[in-house]
């Protein structure tokens, strides 16, 4: 039992590490869309990557609006068999950054000396991405991102959204846009920037300390699932989407055959069956104003599983995570002044049957609530900034959010077993050109993993994880 408990602790730690590694990557605007439509970035974005109403409609229509010459093929009835843009919809994105923690991290080589690790992380690049983003066929479009990240040192699949869409005219000049999306991240399909995949912060350092807790829909499954969803968008106003996600883990191999699948007990956090995803939203536009209110959710059953060399069968009890979230977004878009106020609250109910039986959670059920509220202002799309409040609160669980073991460095532990984390992000931006952003961002934690001072049980304060993040971000 002791061994099993230890195993589950390892799995729990791996889960958290995976959640951190899979945290949502930078969301962005893609210049190949501008090349395809012939329209400037400002048509679809207030400032990238935040979408305007036109950008939302462009996305809902499958990224297919084009104004460039096409290579075409038609049959004898003049049905279109092929429509290829003469310019491939390719883009490159670069992020280079510098991160400075308020207090350096201990060096694992000698944890008794505080702050021994080098502080100040230069990331060049932090991220380098190649996109195919644009039309594939008359009603088929793609947003495919391949990313090199300096944290992994490898190239991997990033946010991907393949869409079929069409718009029908209804009586009285009403419209109904409908479509299907094949994608790899719950909420990557969404049209508003108030949901996790393309929500604020749009760029974040990967050289900071991440809190222990996060909900499943908040990036934990990103790029390790495959989902198919269907959506309706009526009168560019009322939106409904329903889909399902199944594990599609990258880099996983079947232990028996060495092939890319099926997943076995060496994999952790494998979805049992299909996880349903749903989304409803209503948007109203008047004058220069746009207001959206909505809700979304995900129901995930995960086999805790194991790891290579320590397998746990993918059967029996599961952990179930039911996420229900509300969101809103208000935009005021004019030539001189642009203002956005947005937010989301995600509530997660956890039935931790599998983890509790194995000792990886102290409670049979927990809950977690994440709230984010932010306001953004830009002057002439050139100079602006964002202020965000964030908070995560939830059940105290000393096994799920464990304290330090003797001699441990702490930092990623919780002395109290509480996941509560709270703080602010302040960011200023300058865009010399619409596809180039220079940012200075400061994240301030007032609470981290359940505490303000000595939150980790080894003497570190929440404020020590506060960090400066300087970013050069451009795409072309």
């Amino acid at each position: 039992m002791q061994t099993r408990s230890l195993l589950y602790r390892i799995v729990a730690a791996a889960t958290l590490a995976a959640a951190v590694l899979c945290a949502p990557r930078a969301a962005l605007a893609v210049p190949s869309f501008a090349r395809q439509t012939g329209m400037a970035c400002e048509a679809c974005h207030t400032v990238f990557p935040e979408l305007t109403h036109f950008g939302r409609v462009f996305k809902a229509n499958g990224y297919v609006l084009d104004n460039v010459k096409q290579v075409q093929d038609v049959n004898s009835k003049r049905d279109q068999l092929l429509e290829l843009a003469q310019i491939p919809a390719l883009s490159i994105m670069v992020q280079a950054s510098y991160t400075q923690l308020k207090k350096p991290l201990p060096d694992l080589a000698n944890v008794s000396i505080p702050g021994e690790a080098q502080n100040g992380t230069a990331a060049f690049p932090q991220q380098l991405s190649l996109f195919y983003a644009g039309k594939i066929a008359p009603h088929l479009g793609a947003f495919v991102q391949i990313t090199y990240g300096n944290d992994s040192g490898t190239i991997g699949i990033d946010n991907t959204d393949l869409r079929f869409a069409d718009t029908k005219l209804l009586p009285d000049a009403q419209t109904l846009t409908y479509g299907l999306s094949l994608n790899n991240n719950p909420t990557v399909t969404d049209l508003w920037n108030s949901t996790p995949a393309f929500g604020y912060p749009y760029a974040a350092s990967n050289a900071v300390v991440s809190p222990l807790a996060g909900t499943q829909i908040d990036g934990a499954l990103a790029q390790n699932v495959a989902g198919l969803s269907a959506y309706l968008y009526w009168n560019e106003s009322l939106y409904a989407e329903l889909g399902g996600y199944r594990s599609a883990q990258q880099g996983a191999a079947n232990q028996l055959t060495g092939a890319a699948g099926p997943l076995d007990g060496s994999a952790s956090n494998v979805i049992s069956g299909v996880s349903p995803y749903w989304r409803v939203a209503y948007e109203r536009n008047w004058g220069r104003h746009s207001l959206e209110v909505g809700a979304y959710g995900l129901d995930v059953k995960l086999f805790p599983g194991g790891s290579p060399g320590a397998t746990v069968p993918l059967s029996g009890p599961v952990n179930r995570f039911r996420d229900v979230a509300e969101d809103f977004q208000y935009q005021y878009v004019a030539d001189e002044h642009l203002f956005t106020f947005a937010g989301t609250r995600i509530h997660e109910s956890m039935d931790l049957g599998a983890s509790f039986a194995g000792g990886a959670s102290a409670n049979p059920s927990d809950d977690l609530t994440t709230t984010r509220l932010w306001a953004t202002y830009y002057y002439r799309r050139q100079v602006g900034g964002t202020l965000q409040y964030f908070s995560t609160t939830g059940s105290t669980d000393t096994a799920l959010y464990p304290g330090p073991t003797p001699g441990s460095a702490g930092v990623v532990t919780s002395a109290s077993g509480s996941p509560d984390t709270r703080g602010w992000v302040a960011e200023v931006n300058y865009l010399p050109w619409l596809n180039t952003k220079i940012s200075a961002q400061y994240t301030r934690y007032t609470k981290f993993n359940g505490g303000s001072s000595n939150y980790d049980g080894v003497g570190r304060s929440a404020g020590d994880n506060s960090a400066w993040y300087l970013l050069l971000w451009f795409a072309y």
Partner: protein, 214 residues
């Protein structure tokens, strides 16, 4: 009826018939065929409509109202966008791209779609401003050499021939265009001559008057 009279009658009938046919032909020469009209309607509602409103009555002041606009003016503007000869900022950022792949048939069909839509208007509350704008629109500013707008755009501002309809247009859009004429970003000699003598409060007044017109 004599043979000669009969022949004259017949010739008159033939001439009359051909005249009618010719007139009918000219009356419908600019009407798009059914396929082009359907294509234009799809474009207007599903693409243009996102900014300009599905029936051309845009709710966003950045984007002009197109409902009821003269077809020849609309066609000319779309051709100017396509040729990249209209140079106000929003024309460059939005319409140069959007119009780049339109052919003449689609342009004409789009123009017909919008010209046949019912124009709306946005009420204006500032009665004094509207009255001032009405005076400028109808009488001009003779001491500054500004002619009455009504002279070209019509007393009801519904447009005359190639001169566009202004009634019901967003005042902020009209202001932007006047500024663009003034600076010659939108290079129209006649309008530059008018706008260059207008001060901002005068532009605001005439724009407010026009927005409230049916």
């Amino acid at each position: 009826m004599s043979a000669r009279a009969e022949l004259r009658h017949l010739l008159a009938l033939i001439a009359g018939t051909f005249t009618c046919v010719a007139l009918a032909g000219s009356a419908y020469a600019d009407e798009p065929d059914a396929a082009a009209a359907a294509h234009a309607r799809q474009l207007a509602v599903a693409v243009c409509g996102t900014c300009h409103g599905v029936q051309g009555n845009s709710q966003q002041p950045k984007f002009p109202r197109l409902a009821g606009q003269g077809a020849s003016y609309l066609g000319a503007q779309l051709r100017n966008f396509r040729a990249q000869t209209r140079g106000d900022p929003d024309a460059i950022s939005y319409m140069w791209g959007m119009a780049s792949a339109l052919n003449d048939e689609t342009i004409d069909a789009l123009a017909q779609y919008y010209t046949h839509q019912s124009a709306g208007r946005v009420p204006v509350r500032d009665a004094a401003l509207v009255a001032s704008g009405r005076s400028i629109y109808e009488k001009g500013l003779p001491d500054k050499g500004v002619p009455p707008c009504a002279g070209c755009h019509g007393s009801d501002a519904h447009g005359v021939a190639d001169f566009p309809r202004l009634a019901g247009q967003h005042s902020q859009y009209i202001l932007k265009q006047l500024a663009s004429f003034q600076s010659n970003m939108r290079n129209v000699a006649a309008m530059h001559g008018v706008a260059v003598n207008l001060r901002t409060p005068e532009m605001e007044a005439v724009a407010a008057y026009l927005q409230g017109l049916p």
